[in-house]
Symmetry: C2
Subunit: 338 residues, 2 copies
Amino acid sequence: MENRKQAILRAVVKEFTTSAVPVGSQALQTRYFVNLSSATIRSELADLSDLGYLTQPHTSAGRVPTDSGYRYFVDFLMDVEPIPERVKAFIQDELRGAPPDVQAIVERVAMTAASVTQNASVASAPQGSRAKIKHLDLVSLEPKEVLLILLLEGNLLRQQVLNTTEAATQAQLTKLAARLNSTLGGRASEEARRHYDSLALGLEKELMGRVVAVLDLYEKGSESLVVHDGVRNLLRQPEFAESSRLHQVLEVLEETRYLTLLLRQLIGDSDLQIVIGSENTSSQLQGCAVVLTSYGPSDRLKGVVGVIGPTRMAYSQTVARLQAVARGASERMNELGV
Amino acid sequence: MENRKQAILRAVVKEFTTSAVPVGSQALQTRYFVNLSSATIRSELADLSDLGYLTQPHTSAGRVPTDSGYRYFVDFLMDVEPIPERVKAFIQDELRGAPPDVQAIVERVAMTAASVTQNASVASAPQGSRAKIKHLDLVSLEPKEVLLILLLEGNLLRQQVLNTTEAATQAQLTKLAARLNSTLGGRASEEARRHYDSLALGLEKELMGRVVAVLDLYEKGSESLVVHDGVRNLLRQPEFAESSRLHQVLEVLEETRYLTLLLRQLIGDSDLQIVIGSENTSSQLQGCAVVLTSYGPSDRLKGVVGVIGPTRMAYSQTVARLQAVARGASERMNELGV
DNA sequence: TGTTGGCACTCTCGGCCCGAGAGTGCTGAA
DNA sequence: TTCAGCACTCTCGGGCCGAGAGTGCCAACA
């Protein structure tokens, strides 16, 4: 595409992003292209419309980018936007101040992302495809009831209440825990499965069954922690003035199970994903843009943080800030060993 | 107030609750009071307006209950509404299926409350004013880094990463943990504080300092777990068709810190609290009604679950179902010992 | 050939009017 | 005290209209 067309497309996107009003040839001329006449710009706009990058709400209105228009912008025209120091500092502060557990950090990540991008946000907890057992503990609740505490790599705590067939004292449990710790501590989940298989029926086998179950749940990712925040930001946008639009977005956000799948499917193995309007497979997100990136303490342990807003979104700003949040969160998690 | 006036007020509330349209004398006559003429009803309606229980959007519209009208209804006219078996079963299923940890249960409680009342919901985790230490564990992460795992009464797990001045091996830590468990296990937080005071400087004192800090945090309730759900339900109500109304509610719901305070302040020590429209101290909740009740595994450990919706709310149904959810959650927590 | 000023055309938007309809309050009679 | 009748008030939706914004096209020009 010729340079001038690109420049005009970029200008339309930029202008529409901030004003939310269809942009006409005159506005472009006075604000971006003083050397061109509005007639020239009009003919370029007509071309861009023919190419499918722009459209008009009605014959005598200005132009609005189509989904393809945004896509072209994102792929070829977008420049990296520097993040103001104030925002950088805010992100740092928020994430440094996060308490040392996954749940809290994920919530903080969602909150920060929503806040700095002024859109709705989602975040899921980092999850690995292979788990390591770091530590294990057994606490007697009742004579035949045991609480199993499992510390996975990444300082993820899991607990399970377990009704055993035979009674056990706390002393016995402590001993058993110590033995299991030396066998399994620091080992991958495979080890636990092998150990389970090797056992004869009894308390230890029952216990290890639970351990394996927890590991399975974790590795299959069917236990999911997904949070969302910043829905109120969407209400500031004219796109969501009528409630039906917001309703659809909320159906996605509040349906945790679905949201989890969506995030997992979208992020794939790419590190930055931008989905615009009709590119969304989910019908509720038509008209919305989704920007996702991954974060986590290590390459093996990755969660997703993302932003949902109208397609008329400040893409370059959103991407920059979202990535900053992801970087900050990764550092914090790394530092905490969480 | 005379019986007939009460009956008419009740009818207006009931009718308006379902239709959301101002109710006129004729509608009342044909649907509730076939033996009265519409003129008679009109004069009663005029009286109820004078009393401040009803109002009209404009001179030639039907009547709408005022906040006082709802208040009178709730205090004197509301009858207990039986819960359909299907709904009862749904509540049971949802709560029985909740995983055995507090976080998950609180989320499940909010989700269920939102679902069965078709409104937005909030829930906070049960919290006691005094904590008991059930179990404690120490895991060595790095030579000078220790993870402290603390199991409080109610199976609440807390973790803290702690950088120690002196290095310690896992064996030493295990020994120390065992000693502390026998000293503190099952004891109240006072014991931990006394033990902390009695110690000389050193690893154990550092550790106990953290333990005491966690207990403090918990007992002061400054660590808060509050979740909300079902905002999408509000969008079905005409009251929230224009986005500004929803915006205000979302500001309350998404501002966790504020929400926590609000819940704590509202519930006080009563077991059921209904706040209607202008009775709300928070300006964002004018026009909304809030219904709250408490739940938890024991009398000492109470959380709050509540519903937020338009003042035009099916109060008797909401109260009945909310209490059923609270009962179900309490049972589940009791059973899990969570 | 690309650019430009001029111009007719199209479409939205807000304001206005108006009639239908709903619901009221009042009044006088039973 | 109840009720039928009636005049009155107000909203709501539809239709109309003029202002304004923006377009596409065309002919002229460099």
